[in-house]
Assembly symmetry: C3
């Protein structure tokens, strides 16, 4: 992949914001850090070591709701403020995550109606993450409340440069909710989309199998029903779920724009290896796109989508490149950020192996070469508890330096030497690959062949093109192909 510097352009908005915040380098090279999970006595030393490694920023707090709001309406940002101060003292800028991906126990217990219902019609339980309904108004109200309190508390705090809303909307063992709130939300969304039942009935062809609706309230969600659902309804439901997640994010975004105009706002996701949410819509009003890059994890995600079929040969190798090209194109070629970059072996029920020597540096350059303007490594230290205790970070479980530490330090140094030039680079694509969410969802509804799954197919096509070192833009259907 060629990266060509083109000087003399005006700094993009987000970079202006970063610059205004006083960060030395516009390249965001940092780590994902968990002061909430770390004894306060270690923060100073951690910060010093991060600075020593050349890092410019950290992302923190995206799973710390329970500490920030230990009981309903009682907020405690003291610890977080001290963490920001300690980090900033070492010239580390801070990206704050809003914590709506995992509510605290008191909340789940008090408001059981917020729990997601999965595709088999079973209500999820507390104890994991992303177990909440994206439509539910109570959960939206409480999510917006904690995010608003954070925004108020940190709008003027030195060191804070931006926000990540929520965390990984696309990753869940039950990516779509089928609860009664979503059913009502779907009915309202349909009313708005089709205007009349006549139009809806005609578009979906509800006359088939006697499904003509005479009231929006009759419209079901596609739960098990003795036979396949109407494909029009099912596809619209996937679109609604994507919309519901996007509008959930937008509520926090509107608030952050109002309260923190000087901060950039983004969110982080795993991209094309999964396709449950239309990321073009999700990222639409954000300053830039952020992606989480776990090459060793993508294999498992692709295998899951094959439902027992085997992933076409070579697919895994190219999945990472596809996500990067998608990431660059999702906001029309704007530089993107890697908010979480795999730094070690990782996994839960299945482990991705320890990266080879040089592989983390390779992954970093691969991202930069595809248009990234920042990379945060996941994660600073390795958790000694919790569901991700085997996701290895830059520090080992005993806080000794992992094999990746020196490699990352060197890579950061090299990238800083390349500097701002990178921000104005251009990626000359000769091929446009259409990535169409509707198409992927339609194939999930009726694939026609049990071994046919959209994302693995697109990844295989992508791999076939890149084999000849041809630059690729990943575009939506109907994109202007003139460039």
């Amino acid at each position: 992949m060629a990266v060509i510097g083109t000087a003399g352009m005006r700094l993009p908005i987000w970079a202006q914001k970063v610059a205004a915040a006083g960060v030395a380098s516009q390249l965001l090279l940092g780590v994902d850090y968990y002061p909430d999970q770390t004894p306060e006595g270690l923060w100073e030393e951690d910060s010093r070591m991060m600075a020593e490694a050349g890092f410019t920023n950290v992302r923190i707090a995206e799973f710390a709701w329970a500490l920030m709001e230990p009981s309903e309406g009682k907020f405690d940002f003291g610890w977080l403020r001290r963490a920001v101060q300690t980090l900033h003292k070492h010239n580390l800028s801070v990206i704050l995550g809003t914590p709506s991906a995992a509510p605290p126990p008191w909340l789940s217990l008090k408001y059981p109606e917020i729990m997601e219902v999965n595709a088999e019609g079973q209500r999820l339980h507390a104890g994991g993450r992303r177990f909440t309904c994206p439509t539910n108004k109570v959960y939206r109200r409480l999510s917006l409340a904690i995010a608003s309190e954070m925004a108020k508390a940190f709008a003027e705090t030195r060191g804070v440069i931006g926000w990540q809303i929520d965390n990984e909307f696309t990753l869940s063992s039950s990516p779509r909710c089928y609860c009664s709130f979503c059913q009502t939300g779907f009915q309202e969304w349909l009313r708005s989309k089709y205007g009349s039942l006549d139009k809806l009935n005609q578009t979906w062809g509800t006359v088939f199998w006697s499904q003509t609706y005479t009231d929006f309230a009759q419209i079901p969600v596609p739960l098990p029903s003795g036979g396949d659902p109407n494909p029009g309804l099912a596809l619209d439901y996937d679109r609604y779920q994507s919309y519901a997640n996007t509008s959930f994010l937008e509520e926090q975004l509107v608030m952050l724009r109002q309260k923190c105009p000087r901060h950039f706002v983004t969110t982080n996701n795993v991209g094309p290896p999964v396709d449950y949410i239309d990321l073009r819509e999700l990222y639409k009003n954000l300053d830039f796109a952020s992606f989480d890059n776990y090459p060793g994890f993508f294999e498992m995600l692709l295998h899951q989508q094959m439902k027992g079929g085997s992933v076409p040969a070579g697919t895994i190798r190219t999945a990472t490149g596809l996500q990067h090209d998608f990431a660059r194109c999702v906001k029309g070629g704007k530089p993107f950020m890697i908010m979480e970059q795999q730094s070690g072996k990782a996994g839960q029920r299945t482990f991705s192996p320890q990266p080879e020597k040089g592989q983390v540096r390779l992954w970093t350059y691969q991202a930069i070469a595809h248009g990234a303007m920042g990379v945060n490594y996941f994660r600073w230290d390795t958790a000694t508890f919790g569901a991700e205790e085997y996701w290895h970070g830059i520090l080992n479980h005993d806080r000794s330096k992992s094999p990746a530490y020196d490699e990352i330090k060197q890579t950061v140094k090299e990238l800083k030497a390349l500097g701002l030039e990178l921000l104005y680079s251009r990626y000359p694509a000769e091929v446009a690959l259409v990535f169409d969410y509707d198409c992927g969802w339609a194939l999930q509804i009726q694939s026609g062949h049990h071994g046919l799954s959209y994302v693995p197919q697109v990844t295989a096509w992508y791999g076939a093109i890149t084999a000849s070192h041809t630059g690729i833009d990943v575009v939506p259907p109907g994109a202007d192909l003139t460039p």
Copy 2:
């Protein structure tokens, strides 16, 4: 297979009825047509083309409940009457389907208690088909009501020759219901079968694992229970479910006999590739048996029953012949009808490929040679919407003629030339193959080997016999083998 004409016999009842209705040919050669899914402006042209192709009849309306009863108790048969008239104008006789396989949305919403509960204990939802309980009295009442209104409306309508009750009782992703209504119905059925609890306890051996019942109300349905159910209970439950579906059909049959004495009555099913309902009982009081013949679909059905094991070699090839021989024998050798004959590529999650040139003609002759006296091709046009939008018909999605059109037209012409002779043909079987529902159900309960499934086994045996071109009758256990 040899078909031998034997002249001079009296016309069978159904054929007398067809003749009395003024149909030129006693062979029923037609299509499955969906005026409900077709703009009224196209009916005339469709009818003209059907007549031109030589068709004698159509089957219509089996999924049109929502149009015939748009709200509870308000009936609208105007459109259906116009459709019948248009068809009849072109000398096409009409078989009407009663619509109980898929209730309209207002009904599912108002009477949620009618929904089936599947084998895992989860209630099904609206949106597909066959999601209703066969025992539930409310659903039976409403099903009988719409069928009765149809019967009243069309008993004397010229062109109407017969009825298909419901549609494909044997095809559902959850073929048996385990709801509380079925539990009560099962308990009543057991009371009637065994007379006393003592007899039931002794027959089932309920003393095993402490299951002695002291009240019929204690008897459970075989839902997940930490260990296998009592095999006697489980087998009786399968019999009950078969009975419940049969008695559901019988309610409509009794009514049709009373209201439409001049019309024949049948129902259509997929046979031996599935065995959830004892078709000998289901067809017992009907005029003749009808079967739906999708050779390309049978492979999938057999694979499902193998639960991951592989279907014995050659099984797929012979599954179609087995269904035909079963169909002829299910009512003691009476000619049967193919109510739906695959005409093109078909499928939803898995597709059966486009038939080879000549294959639809071959399938037709195969059916006739095994004793069919009629074939309706599925379907006239290809739906542009709904769960079966990839089940290709005689017309393509754009209403152009599919590859099968000319082939079917030729086949119809050839069959008409053979004419009534076929009705009196005899099929000389030298081998009787026992097909025993109880045996198949018992093997589903405790197979003894994870790769052992009844229907694939029987199909393999059938294939081994037919390899020597020996005629086969498929008989129940205890059948008189003298012939």
Copy 3:
């Protein structure tokens, strides 16, 4: 395996109890018998034949709750007393099973809250066995009541020598319960274990994914939740479930100690092929351990644990030896009993084949050589009904002698000739193999590799060691390895 006699030791307590009960031989060589399932007219002849075969004891009644308490609070032990008398007349001692593994229908119907909830959150139904919650106080009360009545009725009955509490705690298709009673029980158990929420939160690292608990009542059970549970919580839940089953057993044990001081008390289980319950705890206060030995069944159990992966080669062959060595060590080297020994082909959905000639004798010597002091063969006659109608016994379905009859008779004779010497034998182990329940449970929570499962691994290691004919003790972590 070497068995070395060491004379001059005092009889162990259980053997003293057996001797005091007047049994001629201290080796318990018998059968599992079901007078409840056998016409009373056959008891006499059965007893005579058992005595003729050389048997010294039978185990009876462990699934006869419905006959002993036909309605709540009405007890009937007349039939059981007559059965004991008939058996004792032929010098057969009796081990009585308490019946809590399968409640009668009236009980399940009246107290639906006792039903287990499985790992997907679905409530089990009556009709199988082990479908009850181990925490539920109502079920505990009713289980203790029937056991107490039995104890009262048979404490002084000649011929009764001991008790088996319940039956096979470790065997269920849903081995752990996740109901609200278990949730409350878990919370109380945690309160007792950790003392304070601070300690619990710190130990589990609940700060991860915002799971800090501020009230014990907030703590969930690990049901589906969009992401993996906290591993600390999940592991503690497995421990709690093991504890709940153990304390369920202890309630009956305390009662039996009080009411039947002259009787020994044990329970029977399948060991290492499954590891859901810590058998070291379960057997802790029992007189000796009993195990059920179905070599042909262990393959299926190991395969289930591999979740589709294949069991390492040679594992099946050694699974039986591992269970025996585990059985000897579970109570510190005390002789153990085989309460159920496979005697013929067996199975339900999958069958284990008919043992080869000599194989039942081989299995018996294998058990004795590993330290067994008794073997009961399963079962006397083969049931002609019920979920285990294909588990073949010493008599066939028609009560003729099975191939195993003469073989077992010969084996019993040989063992009696060896006599009491065996009780003082010592098993010289040179290797200690650590079997750690916590480790197995932790690997079920996050295996790191989809093909990694604890018990099959340990079994493979065991097999590798025994290949060199080295004696093995199976010990808990932290065991004193001096011997």
